[in-house]
Symmetry: C2
Subunit: 216 residues, 2 copies
């Protein structure tokens, strides 16, 4: 029974890494839509979110059946509940990518991000995408070291967010209120994707070691 | 054993309604800080968030001990996992109140919301606070009807959010980029508090009926 339990648990983590791969595509494509004003790509991100939701529901179902059939004890129980929470957070990261795509879509054929903000916004997007990619590897490898490192690198996103505020609140901002609001909300969405990435990575640490790097 | 189980489950729901009461205070006081520029109130909201986090951890611990000791079957299992998710969402609503308080604090002794936006922002805040108050009653009474109604009323918040965008993107916006960014982010925070309220109410429906009003 213990062996069957761990096989099924491995199955859940394989599913989680797959969802994380779908989220990675969503973040990348939403950014592409944002930076190019490509409505087709934006629509794809929005349309593909259903698949992420469905994959999350499958993880839920598997986890519940595992809990019911195997009646795991305290430690294993916490591992499965962690997996449920990881699935919820990954789904949320997909939703945030959809929010980015929707801002891109609203501004078509223009581009939401003014030229002078593009370097900072591009770095925020790349940082978010990079964190999602690393989370995927962390889930696959159950890599505690990499997970702790990811938590430390979250500071990069905070710095970029502060820089974007400095830029859009500078006296020589020429792009009006709409672009400023777009940039502020986009920054918030990428920051939340980064936050969730750290949280998912922390749950991997918990699954492997039984302790969180910090309570979250 | 079944009776002990349901007593403990009632205890978890009592704790959840208490957390919801703390969140209601947080939303109300954060709004007060926002509308008056009162730094002391803002600091209180920020300081009190630790109590919400601690209360959430206690719910987690009780739920896990219930799962471990009682080994509930499928239906009861889903109820307890729902309670865990409700606790997570309530904690998140507390965090969002802190975000509102922090924007208020940043602008002290000024007030973040320009006069002409105050009616809309006040209505968003009141709508959020009202939803949190209703969620608390819904948790206490396990009131499925009220929960379904709450889901329908979420549309009010969407309308207010759209109105705030119309106002701040209007040609005669005189308050500059900083105020516009503040208003956009504040609107986002209140909207998320409303979203989580609906989600918590939906989980109550699930706990009582075994079905969600819609999958979330």
């Amino acid at each position: 029974m213990r062996e069957a339990f761990h096989d099924q648990l491995d199955g859940i983590f394989a599913d989680l890494s797959e969802i994380c791969g779908q989220v990675e595509v969503a973040v990348r494509e939403a950014t592409k839509a944002l930076m190019t004003g490509d409505v087709h790509t934006a629509d794809q991100v929005i349309g593909n979110d259903k698949a992420i939701d469905a994959a999350r529901e499958r993880v839920d179902d598997t986890a519940f059946s595992l809990l019911s059939l195997q009646q795991p004890v305290a430690g294993d129980l916490r591992v499965i509940v962690s997996a449920l929470r990881m699935a919820t957070e990954l789904e949320r990261m997909g939703d945030l990518s959809v929010h980015v795509a929707k801002i891109a879509r609203l501004r078509v054929p223009a581009v939401a991000v003014p030229d002078e903000l593009r370097p900072t916004m591009q770095r925020m997007a790349e940082t978010a995408e990079d964190m999602v990619r690393r989370v995927r590897d962390i889930i696959i490898e159950r890599d505690v070291e990499a997970a702790i490192e990811l938590g430390r690198d979250d500071e990069v996103m905070d710095q970029l967010r502060r820089r974007s505020f400095t830029e859009l609140l500078s006296a020589d901002w020429q792009h009006g209120v709409e672009a400023a609001v777009d940039v502020a909300l986009l920054g918030r969405y990428y920051e939340r994707i980064a936050d969730h990435s750290v949280s998912v990575a922390n749950r991997v640490v918990f699954v492997v070691t039984g302790d969180l790097p910090s309570r979250d």
